[in-house]
């Protein structure tokens, strides 16, 4: 077979072109963190022939590249970025367009308009309030003030209220009433009553209340949206991780084809360093496969003719020819993506605290308002006064406090967690986390540090093998080289795929690799070892182990104290899992699980009424992360797991998990306090409004007053000593 054939990869599918042939492509770059990264990446990519410009967005990790013409090669761009040491994958243009956050933009515009309206309407309503207290204000001036307030407030309220109107309408069509229904009815009724009062030259118009209400509510809504915005890209980034282009063999010629076009039976080439495009069977070649992303196994799997390959696995050392046994959308990775999607759907069915409160609040307030109108009219108030009082009921019982009660607390809680290195993706996540009663840990990379470390090796032996280790790209050899530090490299090194490396150290022939390769009868089946020996000399064994995180047992003990049960689910072999479980003090553990097993166990626990917190880092955990009641991933996790998780902890300490649960529980308590306060406030305000004791000034005071109380309760520091 001719391995030197240059493969013409067709990446044109990822480029958006205009008529003139200028193109634009987007890459997802991971690892860029600072100004120096921006400079390195942008300068290098701009230097690729045919590239007109490049711009890296550090917040989203997207690199937008402008191509000057058709001669520019997208693959060179990917290679350039990867050559700098960042991981890069191409982003489907359709997905890139879908990723634009339209909802957030709309909310920000609505918030701006409501803020403008709320500020400027005060110019006219404050003089009007003065008139309420017998200050010098003729009726004609009062009416003029109200008209000017109407001119400012009405368009602003109608524009800024659109998100609420739309959501209220959608909810009514489903036959339910969410919080947006009373808000919409309140705002519209307030505007109508204010207009009629102004036309009839009445004393009371509530234009300011309508806009201020929306402004306060939009603050809560926008904060909540910002929390959620990151979580959206979950499935998108997982799919971007999939090898975009596969290499198909027809006869002796190699062609790049889009992964979606692969059919069962195609012969495909997987070069070292590439991910396996679809599920398949090895036809020729031998190599080592890193399944860590798929199964969580730490040991590298040697593969040879006849071995099964899973989509998404990384081919490490040798060139493989495989036969496809599944199409892209039937492959392992796509199945995991589907499981994640299903998990996200069940999660969106979760009823949030604020919506539960709304279910109680809406019928009560509307019944009271209707009773005020009908009863007031029946008792001889006249329809105009009765309607005014009904509107006053809707305004003073305004759901501002309710609308802010949960988001304000959740923003305060997540910024507190952020300072401790935990990123929370949504307010709902905090609510769910507070309810958790069972914690599942993945082993590799969560309970452990996730990279092999050499154990119990005398320094002089490490130094002996180091020259060969430095020549190898194998992860275990790299760990050995890292232990030894800088030094000489062996001469005439030859690496045999899946076996080891051979070379000359000070003129003596030596080998480093698998037991059989070095010349030892393989006794132990463990994959986490390397053998080293000079030709005809004693062979030395190096054992590698994934060490548990420093505070793992402490964190687990703390979780137990908090009344949670703990379990380990791992895709690794039973031996290493048992060792780690013993080291951190967990009795319940299961090993050798597939991603689907993990998701099924989570579903099963759910069916038995448990609320599960899943902590995992691999692709194999992504489905379970998405399906669990709440989920966490370490910062070193694959992007897909980070995206599927509700929370990401960036520090080294596993103590972040109990810390987050603790904060979530206290946030829940505080949100409930806020709801309680709103209820008490409404019990006082409603009768006052029914009795006609409320005027626009009192309404404005009550409305902002209750919102401020709720915000202050959210922001107050915890009344407990730290650590208690």
């Amino acid at each position: 077979m001719n391995a030197s054939l240059t493969v013409d990869r067709d990446l044109e599918a990822f480029v958006r072109r205009d008529e003139a042939g200028r193109g634009r492509l987007e890459l997802l770059v991971s690892g860029a963190r600072c100004a120096a990264c921006i400079r390195k990446i942008e300068t290098a990519v701009a230097g690729v022939p045919g590239v007109a410009g490049a711009r890296l967005n550090l917040t989203t990790g997207k690199l937008a590249v402008e191509l000057a013409g058709r001669e520019a090669n997208p693959e060179r761009v990917v290679e350039t970025v990867e050559g700098l040491g960042y991981r890069a994958c191409l982003f489907d243009p359709a997905e890139a367009v879908a990723a634009i956050d339209r909802e957030g933009r709309e909310l920000a515009v609505a918030l701006g308009v409501a803020g403008f309206g709320a500020g400027n309407v005060m110019m006219f309503t404050v003089p009007a309030w003065a008139g309420l207290f017998g200050q010098e204000l003729t009726p004609a001036t009062l009416t003029l003030m109200y008209w000017m307030a109407a001119i400012v407030a009405t368009p602003c309220a109608l524009f800024a209220g659109r998100p609420f109107f739309r959501s209220a309408w959608a909810s009514l069509k489903r036959g339910k009433a969410n919080m947006d229904v009373p808000i919409s009815i309140g705002v519209i009724l307030t505007l109508i009553v204010s207009f009629s009062e102004t036309m009839l030259r009445g004393q009371h118009a509530y234009f300011d209340a309508a806009v201020t209400l929306l402004f306060l509510l939009l603050i809560g809504r926008y904060l909540d949206h910002r929390l959620r915005a990151n979580a959206r890209s979950a499935a998108r980034d997982l799919l971007a991780l999939q090898t975009p282009v596969a290499v198909r063999l027809s006869g002796e010629a190699e062609h790049g084809v889009p992964v979606a076009d692969i059919v069962v039976g195609d012969r495909l080439v997987v070069a070292p360093g590439d991910r396996v495009p679809v599920d398949g069977v090895v036809e020729a070649g031998r190599s080592e496969i890193d399944n860590a992303l798929i199964t969580g196994e730490t040991a590298l799997a040697p593969v040879t003719v006849g071995a099964r390959l899973h989509a998404g696995a990384l081919n490490l050392s040798g060139r493989l020819v495989m036969t496809a046994t599944a199409r892209s959308e039937d492959s392992t990775l796509a199945a995991i993506a589907r499981l994640m999607e299903a998990g996200a759907q069940t999660r969106s069915a979760y009823v949030r605290l604020a919506d539960k409160a709304a279910a109680l609040y809406v019928p009560v307030v509307h019944t009271v308002a209707a009773t005020t109108f009908i009863g007031g009219w029946a008792l001889g108030l006249g329809p105009r006064e009765a309607l005014l009082r009904a509107a006053a009921v809707l305004i003073v019982t305004c759901p501002c406090a309710l609308g802010l009660a949960a988001p304000a607390v959740q923003i305060a809680a997540s910024s507190r967690l952020f300072r401790k290195g935990v990123l929370v993706k949504s307010g709902a996540a905090l609510e769910r986390l507070a309810e958790v009663d069972h914690v599942i840990f993945d082993k590799t990379g969560v309970l452990t540090e996730g990279c092999p470390r050499l154990v119990d090796a005398p320094t002089h032996l490490v130094a002996l093998a180091a020259p060969l280790a430095r020549a190898s790209r194998h992860p275990l050899a790299k760990a050995l080289a890292a232990q030894a530090g800088a030094g000489p490299v062996a001469a005439e090194c030859v690496e045999t795929a899946g076996q080891g490396v051979e070379g000359l150290i000070d003129g003596r022939r030596a080998r480093l690799g698998r037991a059989a390769f070095v010349g030892v009868k393989d006794g132990d089946a463990r994959e986490t070892e390397l053998w080293f020996g000079f030709e005809g000399d004693v062979k030395i064994r190096f054992v590698f182990e994934d060490q548990p995180r420093a505070d793992a047992s402490e964190a687990i003990a703390r979780l137990r104290q908090m009344g949670l049960s703990v379990e380990i689910l791992s895709g690794d072999l039973a031996g290493p899992v048992r060792d780690i479980a013993r080291a951190v003090g967990v009795e319940d553990w299961r090993a050798g699980l597939t991603p689907f097993d993990k998701a099924a166990i989570v579903d099963d626990l759910k069916a038995r009424g448990h609320k599960v917190l899943m902590v995992g880092d691999g692709l194999n955990d992504a489905a379970a992360l998405a399906r669990a009641h709440a989920s966490m991933a370490p910062g070193a996790a694959v992007d897909a797991a980070q995206n599927a998780a509700d929370m990401v902890f960036t520090g080294e300490a596993l103590g972040a998990a109990p810390e987050a649960i603790d904060t979530a529980r206290s946030a829940r308590r505080r949100a409930l306090q806020n709801f309680g306060f709103s209820a008490v406030y409404n019990v006082v305000a409603m009768p006052a409004a029914m009795a006609g004791l409320v005027n626009p000034f009192i309404a404005a005071l009550a409305m902002s007053g209750s919102s401020i109380v709720v915000l202050l309760n959210a922001a107050r520091p915890r009344l407990r000593w730290p650590g208690r």
Partner: protein, 54 residues
């Protein structure tokens, strides 16, 4: 009293100007990459303008 008829529209106009400025900052992508913008000021030759709209 007539002064109100002049001052009220004038002040609303000023407020509207602020609102338009806010829309402009959003349109021109000034909130798209807060982290990157903070980093870009550190190098003189880096493009210090927000990206052009699609």
């Amino acid at each position: 009293m007539n002064i109100i008829l002049f001052l009220a529209p004038a002040s609303i106009g000023l407020g509207a100007l602020g609102l338009l400025a806010f829309f402009w900052t959003m349109r021109s992508g000034q909130y798209d990459d807060p982290k990157g913008d903070a980093a870009r000021i550190l190098y003189d030759h880096l493009d210090d303008k927000p990206p052009a709209e699609d």
